[in-house]
Each structure stands twice: as C-alpha cells, then as structure tokens.
C-alpha cells in the first residue's frame, strides 16, 4: 500500500509514561504492612474490605463504563451467607467466605443477565431495583435476623491453623485477601479480556462493528465484579463478626459510588484511597452523628465540580502516568 506520508508536526500532549503502578503498589504494600502498628487493626481491616468492594465496583464503572447502583446486593448478601454458614453450619472461615462469594456470583449472573440488556440510566435502575428486592428479602427472611442482623459470628481458624481470634493474624489474612483481589483486578484489567472491556467502555458500537459480542463481555465483567464485591462483604462479616441490614441497603450502593468517585474512577488505586478517606472521615466525625452525611454530600459535590478525575486520577493526569 502506498503510504500517505505526512510531515509529523507533533502538537499533541506528551505520551503516558510507564512506571507509576509499581511505585504506587510498593507504597500501598508498605502502608498495609505497617498500619496495624500505627492505628487500630480493626479500622484498617474495614478499610481494606471497603477498598476491595470499591475496586470491584470500579472494575465495572471505570473499565467497562457500567454504573451499577445495586452493588450492596453482592456485598451485603455475601456477608449474610458467610455469617450464616460460619455460625449456623459451622463452616471454617475460608469456606464461609467462598460460599458467600459464590452466592454473590450467582446473584451477579442473574442480575447481570437482566441488566446488561439496557444502557445507561436504565441499567443503573435495574441493578437498583433488583438490589432493593433482595434488601426486602433480607429484611423479612428468618435467617438474616431482620433488624438485628446476624451477631456473634465466630472467626474460627483459617485452614485449621491460623487463629483469626488473634487480631494481628486476622489483620494479615484480611490484607492477603485484599491484595489477592486487588492483583486479580489488575490482571483482569491488563488481560486480553480487559482490552476488550476498555474498547467497549470507549465506544461500544465500534467494538460491535469489529465483531465483538459486547453483551457477553459485559456480563462476564459484571459477574467478576459481583463476585469480588462478595469476597469483600464475606470477609467483612468474619472481621466484624456480624452481618447487618446496613450492608445490603441502597445507601451502601451509593457509598461505594462515592468512594470510587472520590478516589478516581478508572484508576487502580483510586478506590483504595477513597475507602481510606471516607472511612477515616466516618470514624473521626462519628461523634457529630448525621453531620457525617452532610460532609460526604459536600465532598461528592466538590468531586463532581472541581476534580472529576478523583484524587488519584488528578495525580495520574498531572504526572502523565497511569495509576
């Protein structure tokens, strides 16, 4: 073919540089390793659970462009199932967490199959409606304990050897679960599958015209996201030794949007930083009661108005790196 040769007058912005991710990951790893000696392990464990939850949510919104407004369903229900199987069935924690995640996976297949038939706001509304249905089920069902939730979930021994009753052991197990989930998401994003997801996010009609059956890719991403949200919720049930209605209700679906948005949609580390900030704020401001919600609302508005890329997104953009 005859090359259409043109003088290259490069007027575009500098290219994205590599190397941001390993540095950021090393920093995160160091902070996670040191955190229990600096602050309350229980607080950091919660942050890690929410961070994984937000990372799973971000896999959908940030890398496929799907806004799910019902992710509390997978987080909260995995938490119930995990708590129930650990407490009533006497399953060891690793199996209880897996059962919770498997349940979230099943819910993801059903809800995802229905929701991906629609786009945009309708997609979000279907995910919300299905999540609310399951919320009312959680409210009414016997085994969930209604308003009381499930209390006194035993932590047990992981793999029969790791005594999770020990706060530090519990902490590092939680950290390991978080890191496994985080790295899995990194792998998903940077896989042949992930490349197709990004193409769908960028221009779905074009992806179809290149021969991709985009619905199948979207469903797969939805199920992966729901399952990982389930892992986060189930782990939280073991950590806090309880499962409650809060985790399955719609404000939780909103909170995860806020966390991901504040940190930076479509960034690897954004949801982690977002979870840390939001949970720290809830913790520090807990004595002010409802004012936490006002502060969160203000942050939400500021994010949307001033830094739409989120904190990590703005940093990445400033240094022309990917984070």
């Amino acid at each position: 073919m005859e090359p259409a040769a043109i003088e290259q007058k490069d007027e575009s912005a500098p290219a994205i540089r590599a190397g941001g991710v390993p540095v950021a990951f090393a920093i995160m790893l160091a902070l996670i390793a040191a955190a229990p000696f600096v602050t309350y392990p229980l607080f950091v464990m919660q942050v890690l659970c929410f961070a994984l939850f937000a990372c799973a949510f971000n896999l959908l919104i940030g890398y496929v462009g799907l806004l799910s407004f019902g992710h509390a369903l997978y987080f909260g229900w995995a938490s119930y199932v995990c708590a129930h199987t650990a407490k009533v069935w006497g399953l060891p924690p690793e199996l209880a967490i897996l059962t919770g995640a498997a349940f979230a996976c099943g819910c993801g297949i059903v809800a995802g199959s229905l929701a991906i038939r629609r786009q945009g706001i309708y997609f979000a509304m279907i995910t919300l409606a299905l999540a609310q249905m399951m919320y009312f089920f959680a409210l009414q069902a016997k085994f969930t304990g209604g308003e009381d939730g499930i209390q006194g979930v035993p932590r047990g021994k992981m793999f029969g050897v790791l005594d999770l009753g020990n706060e530090l052991v519990m902490y590092y197990v939680t950290a390991a679960i978080f890191l496994t989930g985080f790295l899995l998401i990194y792998r998903i994003i940077h896989s042949p599958f992930g490349e197709v997801l990004k193409a769908i996010r960028e221009n779905e009609a074009r992806a179809i015209s290149l021969g991709y059956k985009t619905d199948r890719y979207k469903l797969m991403a939805f199920v992966l996201s729901a399952t990982l949200a389930g892992v986060a919720g189930a782990t939280k049930a073991i950590v806090l030794q309880q499962a409650s209605l809060t985790d399955v209700n719609w404000p939780m679906s909103g909170e995860v949007v806020l966390i991901a948005l504040l940190g930076g949609l479509g960034t690897l580390f954004g949801p982690v930083l977002g979870a840390l900030i939001i949970l720290a704020m809830q913790y520090k401001l807990s004595s002010f009661g409802e004012w936490v919600l006002v502060a969160q609302g203000a942050i939400f508005v500021l994010c949307v108005l001033l830094f739409r890329r989120g904190i990590v997104g703005e940093i990445a953009n400033f240094f022309r790196i990917r984070l």
Partner: protein, 251 residues
C-alpha cells in the same frame, strides 16, 4: 469466492412508526468495485447502512452477502463474515493509544477474548502487524498517543487502519471525508483508493469530487428510494438526479 455480486438487497424496507425511511431498495454491489451511495440529506443513506450492518433490523426485504442470507444475523456476526463498517462520526477508542486501537481489531483473530487471567502481553505478537498498519496510514509518529488527542483527519486515518486490521472482504464507509479540510480529504481519498485493491467498498459520501474520482458505480437515493444508478457520467446527466440532488450547477 464466486458470484458477481458481493452484497445484494431485495426490496429492503425500513419503517419507523409510519415513516418509511428506506423503501424497496434493490442494491447490487459488484465484487471488487467502489460503489457510492449518494443523495440529499434525509434520503435514507445512513439508515440503509445501518440495515446492511444490522445495527437496525429491516421491516421487510432480504440482504445477501456472497449469496448467503444475512438478514437475521447480529452486527458482530456480520463483522466476522468480513463486512466491516465505519461510522459518520469518527469511531476510534478515544482513551486508548493508537497502537491499542489497532490491536483491538487484530486481537479478534484469537476469537473470543474472555481469558481474563492471562497478561495482556500475549497480545504483543500483534504489535508488528499493528505498526505496519499504522505506518500505512501515516501515523507512525503517534503510536503511543491517545486517540482522543489526534486531530480529526488523523482519527479517521486511525479508524481505517483499525478496520483494515480485520482484513475485511468488504468495507462500508459512512461519509469518510465528512467534516474534513482539503488536505485531509485528498489523503483519505488516496487511502481509500489504495485499500480498495482486492476489496469491495460501499460508501456514503457527500463530496462529489471524491465520489467521481473513486467510484465505479453510484446509486442515488431520494426519500428512501433508488432514483438512479450507473457510473458518474450517467448519473450526473440524469435530469431527475440533477433536479433532486445536485441542482443544475454542479459540473
């Protein structure tokens, strides 16, 4: 491949709530030609295009590709058969690099890419082919630039490189020179000419000098119907066409 015609439609019709956008169109696209679809605004050209690539479902009529009835297939299936379309608005993946844009199409050779556990580096085998396609359209210096940062004309060049990555038998180009300046138009026209070897091209185009220079055959649509068909000379001398579309002034 056999048969004189690559793509044939029979009584292709699309109605939108009582309004007939495309009516009884019998289009025959000959193998190895550049076939242009022209007509005034609202003539149904883009609708016709969307029907051919199944982005819309026809109300009536059939579409045959290489003799095979494709009327009931999904858009992604059409692409896999070798009919790939472009869009009126440039269809790139804005926040992927130029290389990544082309690679998405090359990646289709693997079949489905559901392997989320493999590193993306397995796709590096396509880099060489991607670079050669990128250089064919004159974008080598922009390999790592995000598509969104390219000027308009270059986005369209990238789009063509991406489309060619699939090595389609047939290309459907929806207004390939829309919104371009002179310099870009000439470049894209040369590119279309170059890629038409061994391929069949059906394009919707407003720029009549591009149409007259490139196309072997022209079909004129007005109000969803075929008004005239033939080479540029025949069509441009048709009084009905002159009246409906070109006025009388265009030479």
């Amino acid at each position: 491949m056999s048969g004189k015609y690559v793509l044939e439609t029979e009584n292709l019709t699309k109605e939108f709530a009582g309004f007939v956008a495309v009516s009884d169109v019998n289009l025959k696209v000959e193998r190895g030609t550049i076939h242009a679809l022209i007509g005034p605004n609202g003539a149904g050209k883009t609708t016709c295009f969307n029907l051919l690539t199944k982005f819309l479902t026809p109300t009536r009529g059939t579409i045959k590709y290489n003799g095979q009835d494709i009327t009931r297939l999904y858009p992604a299936d059409i692409a896999q058969l070798g009919v790939v379309r472009s869009f009126q608005i440039s269809a790139v993946f804005p926040h992927l690099s130029v290389l990544e844009n082309v690679r998405i199409a090359l990646q289709k050779k693997r079949g489905g890419s559901f392997d989320f556990w493999r590193p993306a580096s397995v796709l590096n085998v396509y880099n060489e082919r991607a670079r050669s396609l990128i250089s064919d359209v004159g974008l080598s210096a922009f390999e790592n630039t995000l598509a969104v940062e390219l000027p308009y004309g270059r986005k369209r060049a990238l789009e063509i490189a991406t489309t060619l990555a699939l090595d389609p038998e047939m290309l459907l180009l929806d207004e390939p020179t829309a919104g371009m300046g002179h310099e870009d138009i000439d470049r894209i026209a040369a590119l279309i000419k170059a890629v038409s070897a061994n391929r069949t091209i059906l394009m919707v185009e407003h720029n009549l000098s591009v149409v007259s220079n490139l196309s072997n055959k022209i079909t004129v649509l007005t109000r969803g119907r075929v008004l005239a068909e033939g080479d540029y000379k025949t069509v441009s001398e048709n009084p009905q066409v002159r009246e409906a579309y070109m006025g009388t002034g265009h030479a």
